[in-house]
């Protein structure tokens, strides 16, 4: 069953890629390729669910393909299937959405290329979580990276696309090299098959074990966007077409999480607690950095990109906790940590897909992507507004939406950890709890700012004033993840039940977590019953509305009260920058804000001011401190290398024996 479904999925994607190129009419190419992409995602969904339900696992091997690298071998197990599920639930709405979103590209070669690459991208992401040897993994990983890179740079008139693509390419390939090195070390010269590595990893000397973990964190962290390797996300996401950003943020980034889990929990034996602590700290730092920037960022899609960084941080908090507990041999808590991390991965995939698609609809409809230029869209794009509100509330982690359940579980996790462990942790975990709580609060601020500035009040520009609602197909595509947010929020046990299979397959004892509709945690003696809470909220709201209706007073419409001013103009509204100002002041040490005010005064007297221009920005100190030196060093090295090219043919010939000699010596020395 699942084999067939998976085969269907991959064939559908391949067919989509081909059709996009060869079909005569542009519109037909769009429809067919994206339809087959959607079909592929559905098939992948079926495959994933069958595997998770039966918690079965099967392998498939072919020496013919990728022969020189040792053949392709796939293994479907619950962990891989779960991430396949994530790819599917993100990919299906994205491809539906693209049907309407990319209509303007019909008849252009670029359109065909984008559709084809989209299919390739999907196929690559479907294969990554199933790879069972290094060759397959790296191949699929690289397919994924290259296709997404091309998609990022696909729009020439998108400003900064080339620079974003460069950042992305450099980061992802640095990650690739680190990954290669790590796998080679992990393989210890043996066959680079995951089962062999799993067997051999126990005998890995601790020193090289540390190196491996470090390299892997760098590699997967650069894909997932861990601080300080997150710099490419806020650059690449705005440049890419929105359905691609949704796919990257919802699924591709999560495959970095997948890699971390696969290697640290599956291939490698329990590590020393220090690594768990390090991952936890890394997660906290990532979450705080992401949320602080997402609160202050003026660009709509960059706000979402930074909030992705934040949520990745929360996921890694769960992972680090699980690593710690695994190191201390507390299997139940480790399992709980892993479940929380995976659940939040799924939840974030769903609502972030929704939000990126909504952002695409906004940019499509209002033709501007800066929050400062938007406003009042709730009247021009009513349906998008409702869908976006759902996503924003999930982002803010409030009941009864899915963001809340995983947030709640994270809190419970840290409390349980503080109760059941020795003093060292009891001092670390409260700080982590405080940080996570702060992140939750700031995420709420960012959510209110995003929705309130973009959709409420008066439009701030003409383009926002005559914005138009997204086409029906796009709204239908957004409806899917919105429904997902609500269902997963009301019945979290749906997902948790799937996760038990994953965790027990990784050999961790699954503590009893789910009963019916309520999440019950016997460990901390607390439970959550989202449906009941939702019912209570609904009842309260209905009663309140009814009470408000019963009043006998006359109701009339009037101009907004603005202290007797003659006319209200958008210039009186609070801007996105102003909304974030208090936090900028509180965390001024983090933002390092820069202000430059320039007065344009009348020549007659400095007291007649014609205009004031204020440029407020904050210093990107992470880039400056970390990447500027690196770039300078790279420049220097390449400059030195340039010296070698004197142009004399003899020197070039002399390089050959020299290189040969060096290599021979190295080989001799290794033996």
């Amino acid at each position: 069953m699942s084999e067939a479904a998976l085969a269907t999925a991959l064939t559908a994607c391949a067919a989509g890629a081909v059709l996009a190129m060869v079909w005569p009419s542009g519109a037909g190419a769009r429809r067919l390729s994206l339809a087959s992409a959607c079909a592929g995602c559905s098939a992948a969904l079926v495959a994933a669910i069958t595997v998770l339900q039966g918690s079965l696992s099967w392998t498939w091997r072919s020496e013919a393909l990728l022969q020189p690298l040792g053949g392709v071998s796939l293994r479907v197990d619950p962990l891989g299937a779960f991430f396949l599920l994530i790819v599917a639930v993100t990919g299906a709405p994205a491809s539906l959405y693209a049907l309407g979103y990319l209509r303007h590209l019909d008849g252009q070669v670029r359109g065909r290329a984008v559709h084809a690459l989209f299919n390739v991208f999907l196929a690559g992401m479907c294969v990554v979580p199933l790879a069972d040897n290094v060759a397959t993994f790296l191949f699929a990983w690289e397919v994924m990276a290259l296709s997404s890179y091309l998609l990022v740079v696909s729009d020439p008139e998108q400003e900064g696309a080339a620079a974003a693509g460069l950042w992305y390419a450099v980061m992802t390939h640095a990650g690739f090299l680190a990954l290669l090195a790590a796998f080679v070390l992990l393989g210890q010269g043996g066959p680079l098959e995951f089962p062999a590595m799993r067997a051999g990893a126990a005998t890995l000397p601790p020193a090289s074990q540390g190196v491996v973990v470090l390299l892997l964190l760098a590699a997967f962290g650069s894909k997932a966007g861990l601080v300080p390797l997150h710099v490419w996300l806020p650059r690449a996401h705005p440049a890419a077409p929105s359905h691609v950003s949704a796919l990257m943020s919802g699924a591709m980034v999560k495959l970095g999480v997948y890699g971390t889990i696969r290697v640290l929990f599956d291939l490698m034996p329990p590590l020393s607690p220090w690594w768990g602590g390090a991952v936890l700290a890394l997660g906290v730092a990532t979450a705080l950095t992401g949320v602080l920037y997402s609160v202050a960022e003026p660009h709509l899609k960059r706000v979402l990109a930074y909030s992705t960084v934040e949520n990745i941080g929360l996921i890694f908090v769960g992972l680090g906790f699980a690593l710690l507990m695994r190191a201390y041999g507390n299997g139940v808590l480790a399992a709980m940590g892993l479940v929380v991390a995976l659940l939040h991965t799924l939840n974030h995939a769903v609502f972030k897909t929704l939000l990126f698609l909504a952002a695409g609809a906004v940019i499509h409809g209002a033709r501007t992507s800066s929050l400062e230029g938007l406003g009042g869209l709730i009247k021009r794009m009513p349906h998008t507004a409702v869908l976006c509100l759902v996503g924003v509330l999930a982002l803010a982690a409030v009941p009864p939406l899915n963001g809340f359940t995983s947030e709640w579980l994270t809190f419970q996790l840290l409390v349980a950890g503080a109760r059941y462990t020795e003093p060292a942790l009891a001092i670390v975990l409260p700080l982590a709890l405080a940080a996570v709580a702060l992140v939750a609060g700031l995420a709420a601020v960012s959510a209110v700012r995003l929705f309130g500035i973009a959709f409420l009040a008066l439009p701030r520009t003409d383009s926002a004033r005559d914005a138009h609602e997204a086409p029906a197909i796009m709204r239908a595509a957004m409806l899917l993840p919105a429904a997902g947010c609500i269902v997963l929020g009301l019945i979290p046990t749906l997902a948790v039940a799937q996760l038990t299979a994953v965790v027990s397959d990784l050999g961790l004892p699954m503590g009893q977590l789910d009963t019916g509709f309520a999440l019950v945690l016997p460990l901390v003696g607390s439970q959550l019953w989202p449906i009941a809470i939702a019912a209570l909220l609904g009842a309260g709201a209905v009663v309140a509305a009814a009470v408000a209706q019963t009043s006998r007073g006359p109701v009339r419409t009037d101009t907004t009260w603005n202290c007797g001013r003659i006319a209200q103009s958008p210039r009186q509204e609070y801007t996105a920058a102003a909304f974030a100002e208090p936090l900028k002041r509180v965390f001024t040490g983090f933002y390092r804000p820069t202000h430059e005010v320039s007065l344009d005064v009348h020549p007659v007297s400095p007291y007649f001011v014609r205009g004031i221009t204020l440029r407020a920005d904050f210093a990107p100190w992470m880039e400056q401190t970390l990447y500027t030196p690196l770039i300078r060093a790279a420049r220097w090295v390449s400059g030195q290398a340039g010296r070698l090219q004197t142009g004399s043919i003899h020197l070039y010939l002399a390089f050959l024996p020299g290189a040969l000699l060096v290599l021979l010596l190295i080989a001799r020395w290794i033996r």
Partner: protein, 174 residues
């Protein structure tokens, strides 16, 4: 600590209010029954300075204070006409304040009352005939009660408000 010992030593300094309004208060029109029942012992007031010399504001500032304590009658000032039941208007209406006054009146939900405070509000006082003055308050919005005096005493203002509410009977009627 000294603060609270002082509080204890001072005690309550609120002065009782005579239950018949002074002759300074003039009632333009009776409050209707429903509004009276509504505002019986709860009224929110928005103060509008329609161009006064701020003498009346100085007196009005005494109302929430300990001596006159308007809160004991269930009266309090609010920050927005949306929350208000009564507009307390001072000053001759200047040209610049005519529109804002009108807008403030429109921004106040029904039922609502208007009390004009001070001579200027009723007759434009010494500013009568100035090119900058449109006219008395009732030229712009309907006035329910007015209080003479330049400026009127806080007690008179309080009695005027209560008279407009029909809680004490006014000194004079039109």
């Amino acid at each position: 600590m000294q603060l609270f010992t002082k509080i204890l030593r001072t005690g309550i300094v609120t002065e009782p209010l005579p239950d018949r309004a002074s002759s300074a208060v003039m009632l333009a029109r009776e409050i209707d029954r429903r509004a009276r029942a509504l505002f019986g012992r709860a009224l929110a007031i928005r103060q509008v300075d329609a161009g006064s010399c701020n003498g009346c504001e100085l007196e009005i500032a005494g109302l929430p204070g300990p001596v006159y304590d308007m809160e004991r009658f269930g009266l309090h000032f609010v920050a927005s006409p949306r929350h208000a039941d009564m507009l307390l208007v001072t000053g001759p209406v200047t040209r610049n304040m005519a529109v804002p006054l009108r807008k403030t009146y429109d921004a106040t939900p029904d039922p609502k009352l208007v009390v004009a405070v001070g001579d200027c509000a009723r007759t434009c006082g010494v500013f009568a005939g100035s090119y900058a003055v449109v006219g008395p308050v009732d030229r712009i919005i309907p006035v329910d009660a007015s209080i003479d005096g330049c400026p009127p005493e806080p007690a008179d203002i309080l009695q005027g408000i209560l008279a407009a509410l029909g809680r004490i009977d006014a000194g004079r009627r039109e």
